[in-house]
């Protein structure tokens, strides 16, 4: 075997292995999506959206309260997490500087927080907002999700703002704009698609979380919009239903999984479309 042949052979082996790995990854993805769509759609019906959760074996049984609860939790967490994340990201990029000690510390801490197991955040919020107040509550669930959200939004905002060329900032300052105006009207404008994508991805990320909700927002078998009380969520319901021995609950668990997956997939796709169109503009 000549040297050339050997190199071609090696090349082919590596190519085969890496393609096989890629295909295996895709295979599992499509397998999961396929099973989800098949089982989810067979379980999906109008009752899911019009009736609340019911004991196993009842006719009028759905997931309305879990859907509403999930929306409230995600919306509430976003309302708290997004502004804090965006403002903190702005501080890092515009005020803290790349090399600033405090900015570096914050970046490191947020990186650590991003990789904190979400169940730990749940336990933290339990100790902070559930035990002292004497009840599980929607607010505690919102707080747990918001805590998860802040570092994600913070980092993407920071990264996106830093992509805006320094010359644009200099031009704005040279024209006599105060710094806050420069940030709001020049830097944000230049980075807005990136920031929006980061926010959407962070929403998609927290929408699928079960662990931080297990002992914060707990769950509720009834329709409730009172955030001082335990509130149902799709994820915890899915967890409870999927591990239950009742066929109708298991089916509804699949429906919940499908709804959740479509929501997360939708948010991801919208995020990606925004990035695409931005590239097209240039």
């Amino acid at each position: 075997m000549t040297r050339q042949e050997r190199r071609i052979l090696l090349n082919n082996i590596i190519m085969f292995l890496s393609s096989a790995a890629a295909i295996a990854g895709m295979l599992f993805l499509f397998w999961i999506i396929g099973v989800l769509i098949y089982k989810g759609f067979t379980a999906l019906n109008l009752d899911i959206f019009t009736y609340d959760m019911a004991p196993p074996g009842r006719e009028e049984s759905g997931l309305r309260n879990a859907l509403v609860g999930q929306l409230m939790l995600v919306l509430g967490a976003s309302l708290i997490g997004v502004p804090i994340g965006v403002l903190a990201g702005t501080y890092l990029s515009e005020y803290g500087g790349k090399k600033g000690r405090l900015a570096r510390l914050i970046r490191d801490i947020s990186d650590i927080m991003m990789s904190t197991p979400s169940i730990v955040i749940g336990a933290f919020i339990y100790a902070l907002l559930v035990e002292p107040f004497g009840h599980f509550s929607g607010w505690a669930g919102i707080a747990a999700l918001a805590v998860m959200m802040v570092p994600i939004v913070l980092r993407t905002t920071d990264d996106m703002l830093q992509l805006v060329p320094g010359s644009l900032r200099e031009a704005a300052i040279a024209l006599g704009a105060p710094k806050y105006k420069m940030i709001l009207q020049v830097v944000y404008r230049g980075a807005k698609t990136g920031m929006l994508t980061g926010i959407l991805l962070s929403i998609a990320r927290i929408a699928g979380e079960t662990a931080p909700l297990l002992f914060t927002s707990f769950s509720n078998n009834f329709f409730s919009t009172d955030l001082n009380q335990p509130i149902a969520s799709l994820t915890v319901t899915m967890f409870n239903y999927a591990t239950s021995p009742y066929d109708d609950w298991i089916n509804q668990g699949w429906a919940a999984a499908l709804i959740l997956a479509l929501f997360v997939l939708g948010a991801n796709i919208i995020g990606r479309i925004i990035i695409r169109t931005k590239k097209g503009d240039r």
Binding site: P55, N240, P245
Partner: protein, 331 residues
């Protein structure tokens, strides 16, 4: 101080609707509590949100005062109740069955001696055609398959009652595994809640596990024929559960502390257990609401409980519980 201000503020923003009760604990009675809560909400509009997190979780959460009531199949001793400042009363009686999933063997066909059941759960009987099983089942064609043991992975009152039973029929079990809500299992697969064990049994052919009878009914498992306290064969059937339950001697002064395993009598199924409700003593007003729910269920929930495979408490026990409530000013 800050805590109180925030709480008051939050309370003033959102005015609470009708009395909403939250409870958590045992998975053993969860199916009947779900049903009772569903009926109670239809009848009164009040929501009783019960979450099945296991007896261990129920005791922990009501002790931490994060729920309005806890539920446990393991009764707490009066001393412990005083320490944790809790009231305790039984709500319904259920039975734990040795549920199996062996293709070709129907419900109630398999006989297992009580001490052999302990040996199976200790991993000492490994195959279904072990001599200790086949000699009691001459008519059955038991396969040479490995026994898949399914047990609880979380803190569980069902485990407590089951291990209490095994410890009293097998010295080996008493010395090497013991009694508790969570055990150091010598063998087997662990599931969360009665729900989890039931799913494990249905997913694994040639498996055996212990679940509340309601879970066996819903899933169509087989339940092994066991032995009474005196060694007579006894089927896992409602009349035999009832036969055991009637020996219960409730004493309100001890907060109804009572373990119902291995009652005397020729037809007494050996693993019958009451499941208990725990209330925080200081929460008088909320306790009244919780008590209203259980009072309603005592009056209207018997049929539901029976349908699911539970044994409702006898009328005189219910009266005893009502006077217990009255005595503590929550009825």
């Amino acid at each position: 101080m800050l805590k109180k201000t925030i709480a008051a503020l939050a309370a003033s923003i959102i005015t609470a609707s009708a009395a909403n009760i939250s409870g958590a604990g045992a998975s053993f009675p969860a199916p009947v509590y779900f049903d009772w809560a569903y009926m109670y909400q239809k009848a009164t509009g009040n929501q009783v949100n019960y979450q099945s997190i296991g007896s261990g979780g129920g005791i922990k959460q009501v002790s931490a005062r994060t729920v309005n009531f806890g539920a446990s199949d393991k009764p707490l001793k009066p001393k412990k109740l005083d320490r944790k400042r809790l009231y305790q009363f039984p709500a319904v009686i259920g039975s734990i069955v040795a549920a199996y999933n062996i293709p070709g063997i129907k419900d109630g066909e398999l006989k297992i001696e009580n001490k052999d059941l302990a040996a199976i759960f200790m991993g000492k009987i490994k195959y279904w055609d072990d001599k200790r099983i086949t000699e009691d089942n001459p008519g059955l064609n038991l396969p040479h398959k490995e026994i898949v043991v399914c047990h609880r992975a979380d803190g569980s009152g069902t485990t407590f009652n089951f291990s209490y039973f095994l410890a009293h029929v097998s010295e080996d079990w008493a010395n090497n595994v013991g009694i508790g809500k969570a055990l150091d299992w010598p063998t087997g697969l662990g599931g969360k809640g009665n729900e989890g064990v039931a799913s494990l049994i249905s997913q694994n052919p040639y498996s055996i596990g212990y679940v509340e009878y309601a879970y066996k009914l819903k899933n169509g498992f087989g339940a092994a024929v066991l032995q009474t306290a005196s060694g007579k064969w006894v089927e896992a059937k409602e009349e035999n559960f009832k036969a055991a339950a009637k020996y219960a001697k409730w004493t309100p002064a001890k907060h109804f502390y009572q373990i119902l395993a291995l009652q005397p009598g020729d037809n007494s199924y050996p693993i019958v257990a009451a499941t208990f409700i725990l209330l925080p003593r200081e929460a008088t007003e909320m306790n009244k609401e919780v008590v209203k729910f259980f009072d309603y269920s005592f009056k209207h929930g018997d049929e539901d409980a029976k349908k699911l495979g539970y044994i409702p408490l006898p009328e005189q026990t219910k009266e005893m519980i009502r006077s217990y409530w009255k005595e503590h000013g929550i009825y």
